[in-house]
């Protein structure tokens, strides 16, 4: 056991820090560009300097380096610390790009990966439907071939960022006679194709981050399929093979823990800061137990992955999502109790956030609600419990009706 990163990585860390500090914020005329364009400029430079998307092949716009989880960790720590716009969208850089690298054609990789990495091309994920959530493979939106085009009809829902995104990757039923999982294809759509109609849905905290998306005879090129017809389910799961996805990240939970401490310091209770209240201290100290456990679980995963020993940490990997959802929710619950009657005030404007949004009261009210999303989106907590029980403890799969 050695918690030092060592000279090689410390050198890299120093370089990442220097780069982050000298490259951001943008200067002069560049600083006057719209926020999004500044982000794109910065990302282009960070990729060129080898600090972003390092392992994506250079031919597709990445750094072309060998995977090195320790290098990625020190770099991410420094970029986080410096507050640069390095975080891409989950959908584009974490889901679509690995999928194309695994299953895409050369043309698809050439066309989509580079602009996705820089943020020029944004993606939304068209999976869920009104009747198909956890049981995603029951989805009904269909695509049929007509000449050299797919014609799509149906509806998606809960599609995050559908109004901003230039593109969608989605799952559509293309083989209606095949069994459930075998009748789906993975298609790529430009969001300005006629017949696509995204309509924002309001979230419980007031935000408009997700949409329902209607498809009415939407025609896209037949070539816009990833993998073969009927293989969409497999394609959509292929990225799961990259277990690195399961490493998780504990920076967020430490950051919001610190935000909670700040809130407890600034919230008066009977004329004294709430943080002096013994009961509050107990709750926060107990929470710190969970936060710390997450941090060392992540460190354990990172170290094992760096040594190609992923199997040894499969338990922590399979628990990463639900454990982090739980910590996020516990933090928000303490925050709302600290706020007391301030929690009655409806958040508006910038305080309508997804996730941890800062130490002000209204952002915490948002977070009290949006911390629930982790238990629903991307494989609900109950689905995680099934996976944990079945894969780690040999418990039987649920009995399902025939065909499911």
């Amino acid at each position: 056991m050695d918690l030092e990163f060592g000279e090689k990585y410390e050198t890299l860390r120093a370089q990442a820090r220097d780069f982050a500090r000298s490259s951001w914020p943008l200067q002069g005329d560049e600083a006057k560009l719209p926020e999004r364009e500044q982000g794109i400029l910065w990302k282009e430079r960070a990729i060129a300097a080898g600090f972003l998307h390092r392992t994506v092949p250079a031919a597709y716009g990445g750094g072309g380096l060998e995977p090195d989880v320790l290098a990625e960790t020190v770099i991410r720590q420094e970029l986080d610390e410096a507050g640069v716009p390095h975080r891409g969208s989950m959908q584009g850089t974490h889901m679509l790009v690995p999928t194309l690298l695994e299953c895409g054609t050369e043309e698809q990789r050439q066309a989509y990966i580079r602009p996705t990495l820089t943020g020029v091309m944004r993606w939304c994920q068209g999976y869920s439907e009104p009747g198909s959530g956890s049981d995603l493979a029951s989805l009904q939106s269909r695509a049929v071939v007509d000449g050299d085009e797919w014609v799509i009809n149906g509806q998606k829902i809960w599609t995050t960022q559908a109004t901003e995104a230039e593109m969608m990757f989605g799952l559509f039923r293309t083989e209606p006679d095949a069994p459930k999982h075998g009748g789906i294809s993975y298609l790529l759509l430009s969001m300005d194709t006629p017949g696509i109609d995204p309509r924002p849905l309001q979230m419980m905290q007031g935000g408009l981050d997700f949409c329902e998306v209607f498809f009415n005879d939407v025609r896209i090129p037949a070539a816009n399929i990833v993998g073969k017809r009927g293989e969409g389910w497999k394609v959509s799961r292929s990225t799961l093979k990259h277990e690195r996805m399961l490493i998780g990240d504990s920076t967020g939970s430490r950051k919001s823990f610190e935000g909670l401490l700040e809130l407890a310091r600034n919230t008066p209770r009977d004329g004294r800061p709430a943080i002096e209240d013994p009961h509050i201290r107990q709750r926060i100290a107990e929470l710190e137990g969970y936060v710390t456990a997450r941090e060392w679980a992540v460190a354990r995963i990172i170290s094992a992955v760096a040594q190609n020993d992923d199997m040894k940490v499969m338990d922590d990997m399979l628990m990463a999502k639900i454990a982090s959802t739980n910590v996020t929710q516990m933090t928000a619950k303490i925050a709302i109790d600290l706020l007391g009657d301030l929690g009655l005030e409806e958040p508006s404007g910038d305080a309508i956030v997804m996730g941890y949004g800062g130490t002000d009261a209204a952002s915490w009210v948002s977070q009290y609600m949006t911390s629930l999303s982790g238990a629903i989106a991307g494989g609900s907590s109950n689905i995680q419990r099934n996976i944990i029980g079945e894969r780690l403890y040999g418990l039987p799969r649920d009995r399902r009706p025939e065909g499911h």
């Binding site: 056991m1 060392w296 418990l395 649920d398």
Partner: protein, 357 residues
């Protein structure tokens, strides 16, 4: 950065596991709980022969010269099998001597502790949750100790006591000294009995007082590791039971309520492994904040383990509620781990105070 165990550390765990799985099956622990006999001396003797008693004793004094992390890894295995041996108290005696002993004290006791000739134990708390050095009232004056210590593990077999004294220091008392009386007390974990010990002008030598906090910190780490091992075992016992017991024409595990209860137990406990690894490592490296890490690990892991133990009883139904069912053995193991050396609540007071808030 390498937050993994070395091959030697994995081998250490395997070796201990191999031995205790054979020599300390649940049936043997059960005989102790049923009052049919106390722990087989061969069990501790066998561990001593494997070098477990001297794990952290420096090589110059006949030990293996290993770290607290290694001892914690052994604790995990001992907790997993609920092995009824005085490993915690013995190892902490070694810690007290290493951290606070003069060369004479060390060369007298460490070799005896390493080869198992003497068993060491720690007499710290005085009842009513007085585990912190600032709480201790036993008087040490003119080379004798006077006071009463409670919940002292393995006192009846101990050859040497590390005694917490007023002012927050430690004294060393040979168990054969005049004025030492050991009184059994009924305690829940029959595998690791606790005693009340009276010291009445018992001859003693002082240890450097800085050792006191280190002994406690090491104890917190070992208790966290032990309860982690026990909780892991409880989850597996529960999964096995749920996979065999049938109701409504199917195994219990087929019911999702049951499957999810077991998954939640696991999500509570399993991610805490790195926490006590780190606390042990921080102790070994004398890192800033090592004591706080130990308190975080002990309070968190034992709390989660206790909750898991309660769920394990529930998941076993009526049988889980009986003396006859082995779940009670691990339940009580975890209970003792959680309450010894301070409740989570008391530890969290320190966590808050030392966190700068």
């Amino acid at each position: 950065m390498d937050f993994t165990l070395t091959e030697e550390q994995e081998l250490l765990q395997e070796t201990v596991r191999g031995f205790v799985a054979n020599e300390s099956p649940a049936t043997a622990v059960r005989e102790i709980f049923d009052g049919e006999r106390s722990a087989k001396p061969a069990l501790w003797k066998g561990l001593v022969e494997m070098g477990i008693a001297g794990l952290t004793v420096p090589e110059t004094h006949g030990g293996a010269g290993l770290d607290l992390l290694d001892a914690a890894l052994a604790s995990e295995v001992l907790g997993h099998f609920a092995v009824p041996v005085p490993f915690l108290e013995h190892t902490l005696t070694v810690t007290a001597l290493i951290e606070g002993g003069g060369s004479e004290q060390q060369s007298h006791w460490l070799p005896r502790l390493a080869n198992g000739d003497a068993l060491g134990t720690v007499a710290l708390g005085e009842g009513e949750d007085t585990w912190q050095p600032t709480h201790w009232t036993a008087r040490f004056e003119n080379d004798v100790v006077t006071g009463t210590k409670r919940y002292v593990p393995a006192a009846e077999k101990a050859g040497v006591f590390v005694v917490g004294i007023a002012g927050g220091g430690l004294a060393l008392v040979d168990a054969s000294a005049a004025g030492v009386t050991v009184e059994p007390m009924p305690t829940v974990d029959r595998g690791r009995p606790l005693f009340t010990v009276h010291f009445e002008n018992a001859a003693a030598t002082e240890l450097a007082s800085a050792a006191a906090q280190r002994v406690l910190d090491a104890g917190l780490v070992l208790l966290a590791a032990d309860s982690f091992g026990a909780a892991d075992r409880l989850i597996r016992m529960t999964a096995d039971y749920a996979n065999t017991r049938e109701q409504f024409g199917q195994v219990l595990a087929q019911f999702q309520g049951m499957k999810h209860q077991i998954a939640d137990m696991a999500v509570d406990v399993v991610p805490t492994r790195g926490m006590w690894w780190y606390a042990a490592h921080a102790f070994d490296q004398k890192m800033a904040g090592a004591g706080r890490a130990a308190a975080l690990a002990k309070s968190h892991v034992t709390d989660r383990a206790q909750q898991t133990a309660r769920q394990a009883v529930e998941c076993h139904g009526g049988i889980g509620f009986t003396w006859e069912c082995d779940v009670q053995i691990w339940f009580k193991r975890v209970m003792q781990d959680r309450l010894l050396f301070g409740t989570p609540e008391r530890l969290r007071e320190n966590i808050a105070a030392t966190g700068g808030w």
